[in-house]
C-alpha cells in the first residue's frame, strides 16, 4: 500500500472514531463507526489481508451496524439526548489516553530501528508454492504470482485450526440461546 493511501485512510479512520465520541445523536455515532470501520478494512486490504478486510466490512459494517441501529431505533432514545459531559470524566478521558499514547510513542521511538521493520518484506510467492501439493489451486495461483488469500485461510482453517473453529461453533450456538433467553418476556 503506498504511504499516501495509508495516511488518508488512517486520517479518515481516526476522524470517524472521534465523531463516534463527539456526536450527541447515537444514530450519527453508529454511522461514524461505519466510516471508521470501512477505512480500517481498506488498511487491512493494503496489508494483503483481503479476506480479513472483506470480513470486516461484511460483519461489522453489515451485521453489527444494523444491529446497533436497530436497537437505537427500538429504544427511542430521543429524550436521552441530555448527555452532559462531567468535568471529572472529561479530565480522566483526556489524561489516561494521552499517558498511554506517550508511553506507546516512547516505546516505538527506541525499538524496531532495524531494517526488517521499516519496509514490509517482499512476498516470495513462487518460493511458497513448493510447500503445497502440486496441481492444487493454491500452488497454481502462487506460481502464477497471485496470493490466493481465501484459499489459504480455508486451508489453515480446516487443518491447523480445525478444533478452534468447532469451539467457535459452540460459542455461537450458546450466544444465540443466550440472546433468546435474555429477550424473552419474564412472565410472572
Amino acid at each position: 500500500m503506498p504511504s499516501i493511501l495509508f495516511y488518508i485512510f488512517s486520517a479518515i479512520m481516526c476522524l470517524g472514531a472521534l465523531m463516534v465520541i463527539f456526536n450527541r445523536n447515537p444514530v450519527a455515532s453508529a454511522l461514524s463507526m461505519l466510516l471508521s470501520f470501512i477505512s480500517l478494512a481498506a488498511i487491512f486490504i493494503g496489508l494483503n489481508s483481503y479476506l480479513i478486510g472483506i470480513l470486516q466490512i461484511l460483519v461489522y459494517s453489515g451485521a453489527v451496524m444494523v444491529l446497533f441501529i436497530f436497537i437505537i431505533m427500538l429504544l427511542d432514545l430521543q429524550k436521552e439526548d441530555k448527555d452532559a459531559f462531567k468535568p471529572a470524566a472529561i479530565a480522566a478521558g483526556i489524561i489516561i489516553p494521552i499517558v498511554l499514547l506517550i508511553q506507546l510513542a516512547s516505546v516505538l521511538h527506541v525499538s524496531h530501528q532495524d531494517e526488517q521493520y521499516s519496509q514490509a518484506p517482499e512476498l516470495e510467492l513462487a518460493e511458497a508454492a513448493k510447500n503445497f501439493p502440486e496441481g492444487s489451486v493454491i500452488a497454481t495461483d502462487l506460481s502464477a504470482g497471485k496470493l490466493p488469500d481465501v484459499h489459504l485461510i480455508g486451508h489453515y482453517l480446516f487443518t491447523d485450526y480445525n478444533f478452534p473453529i468447532q469451539v467457535i461453533a459452540v460459542l455461537l450456538l450458546s450466544a444465540t440461546v443466550g440472546c433468546v433467553v435474555l429477550s424473552k418476556k419474564i412472565s410472572s
Partner: protein, 105 residues
C-alpha cells in the same frame, strides 16, 4: 510502504480514542461502540504483524486466523450485549450509566 511503527502507532491511537469514549460517554450503546473500536484496533495490530513477519514467503497466517476468531467472538458479544441492554431498558426505562447505580454499595 509505511513502516511497522506507523501501523502500530495508528492502532494505538485508535485504541486511545476508543478508551476516551468509554470513559467520557454516558450512553451505554455508545460505550459499546467504543469497545468495538478498541477491539478493531487490536485487530489492526495483529494484521500489521502478520504482514511484517513472513513465513516461507507468505504472510504469517496464524495472526490472521486469530483476527478471524476475534471478529467472530466480537459479533457474538455484540448480539448478547445488545440483548442485555434491551432487557435493562425494559426493566429501568433508561440506558444512562448515571442512573444505573443499583450495584453501588
Amino acid at each position: 510502504m509505511p513502516s511497522l511503527n506507523e501501523y502500530l502507532f495508528i492502532s494505538g491511537l485508535l485504541f486511545c480514542i476508543g478508551l476516551t469514549g468509554v470513559i467520557v460517554r454516558k450512553n451505554i450503546i455508545v460505550i459499546f461502540m467504543c469497545l468495538e473500536l478498541m477491539l478493531a484496533a487490536a485487530s489492526l495490530t495483529m494484521v500489521a504483524f502478520t504482514r511484517f513477519n513472513t513465513v516461507q514467503g507468505l504472510p504469517d497466517y496464524d495472526g490472521q486466523m486469530l483476527v478471524f476468531f476475534v471478529i467472530t467472538v466480537a459479533a457474538a458479544e455484540v448480539a448478547v450485549g445488545l440483548a442485555v441492554i434491551v432487557a435493562l431498558y425494559r426493566a429501568r426505562q433508561t440506558i444512562n450509566t448515571d442512573e444505573l447505580t443499583s450495584l453501588k454499595g
